[in-house]
Symmetry: C2
Subunit: 285 residues, 2 copies
């Protein structure tokens, strides 16, 4: 049986429907909100899906408003889903900082109090939300790809590395390459998972690759004018580990671009087209 899904809003856009939906999440124990763009399609057909995981402070709304993905998704016939970045609400623990607590779930299942009860974004993104949307939208769950930005780039990489058979292709915009090796990651994984850094490795793209995980296809764009590049994102660690592992990866530096949606929106259509090529290749319907 399909779980109850509340329609928050729906708008016709680029020939399809851009919607925002809310549901009671069993993973987080809260209401969760996400957006879905469904392009125009023949009744009864199922479309491939591209997941977009957002960065620190974001909700579904940032990419939905500013991502400029709809024209490309309409052209290629791809459903686009943008989840929230954490559980939210008055009864959910929070932190005053922008990089921890609500809006900063880091796509982990927290094990430490007070976070463990609600901050279960890994289970939410890996299991609950795919099952939910598969029952409500015209999606062919055998054709999934994933992308994301910053913390959400970290999310896309690590979710895909742990579930390589689920995704045809993986991309990221200015991802956090290694939470084990940057202040954002040290703070968040330390807070949510505790001091044992061994437990962090399944949430670190570089460590997962080092430990043997592989991606089917990887595209990364990183702006050279991004103020977080040197201290937090450390793209060079991802390049090094891919080379060391012999894993094909197209990791590009884009001259003068910063960390904003002005950067993401510039390369979004290209990412969607790249995913479309992988989503349309072979594979069972």
């Amino acid at each position: 049986m399909a779980t109850a899904l509340e329609t928050v809003e729906e708008h016709r856009s680029h020939g399809g429907i851009q919607g925002v939906y809310r549901h009671a999440s069993a993973s987080t124990g809260t209401d969760m909100t996400f957006s879905v763009f469904v392009p125009e399609h023949e009744e009864g057909t199922k479309l491939p899906v591209l997941w977009f995981l957002s960065g620190l402070t974001c909700t579904h709304a940032n990419v939905t408003d500013k991502g400029e993905f709809r024209a490309a998704c309409a052209e290629h016939g791809i459903v686009f889903i943008a989840p929230d970045t954490s559980p939210r609400g008055e009864n959910v623990p929070d932190d005053e900082a922008y990089d921890f607590g609500q809006g900063a779930g880091f796509y982990v299942d927290a094990t430490q109090d007070p976070w463990a009860e609600h901050f279960r974004m890994r289970s939410y993104i890996e299991q609950e939300l795919p099952e939910l949307v598969g029952g409500h939208f015209p999606i062919d769950m055998n054709r999934q790809s994933i992308t994301g930005h910053s913390m959400g780039g970290h999310g896309a990489l690590t979710v895909a590395l742990r579930n390589a058979d689920r995704f045809r292709s993986v991309s990221a915009f200015s991802p956090i390459a290694s939470p084990l090796a940057c202040p954002w990651g040290e703070k968040a994984l330390g807070g949510y998972l505790g001091a044992d850094r061994q437990a962090w490795r399944e949430y670190d793209a570089c460590a997962l690759i080092e430990d043997g995980a592989r991606l089917p296809a990887l595209l990364v764009d990183q702006g050279t004018g991004d103020g977080f590049l040197e201290e937090q994102l450390k793209t060079e660690l991802l390049i090094e580990i891919c080379e060391k592992a012999g894993m094909p990866a197209n990791i590009r530096f884009q001259d003068g671009y910063d960390h904003s949606y002005y950067f993401i929106s510039t390369f979004m259509a290209e990412h969607v087209a790249w995913h479309a090529r992988h989503l349309k290749q072979s594979g069972a319907e």
Copy 2:
């Protein structure tokens, strides 16, 4: 001499620069903020410009974030300028309603107290801002076109009807066709200009056409799912007056689209391409 212009922010986007700028306006007696997208171009060349006037409650930011105009402007080599919709600030009169006062300037020069001192958006858009941007950005002021949304569609139409020699082409998204004939217009023009409806005619697209003004080329898109269509926008009045005047106009109804930026962004690239054709035709450099 160029007037002082403060750079609020600049981001590389779609190969060009998306900036936000602030200056002390002589027209409004306040600081005014606007955004400019300058596509990549050869040093020393000047580009045509497309003005976008925004709707009720908006600042420059709405279309800058959600308008999806940059890819098309980059492709066609067009500068895109988005002004604010009114003077703002603690010392500027305001009204609690969303459709009057700050955020609702209606592109008029107010004559009534307390609005007359600051609410001079006609002078600002018609004279001050073009002179300012001409001195600061690589714009060929002989190649201008204009568009806008809702109240800003009304603005685009009326600014262009009063200054037909300035613009190569005019378009609008869900414009207010006739402020004389709708509650938004009755309230705003009554408040800013007083009870004499004769004085409103130069701010009413239908009245201006009736009084002999003409546009060089007109494209309008209007969603059929727009909740403001029947009471406020009244597209049929614009269709009727264009037919009566024998003025060529392409006024299109778009099935199921509403009044939001999900609608605007869907047709933005087409509007930019249409303006580009007019901006590139003949004409002195």
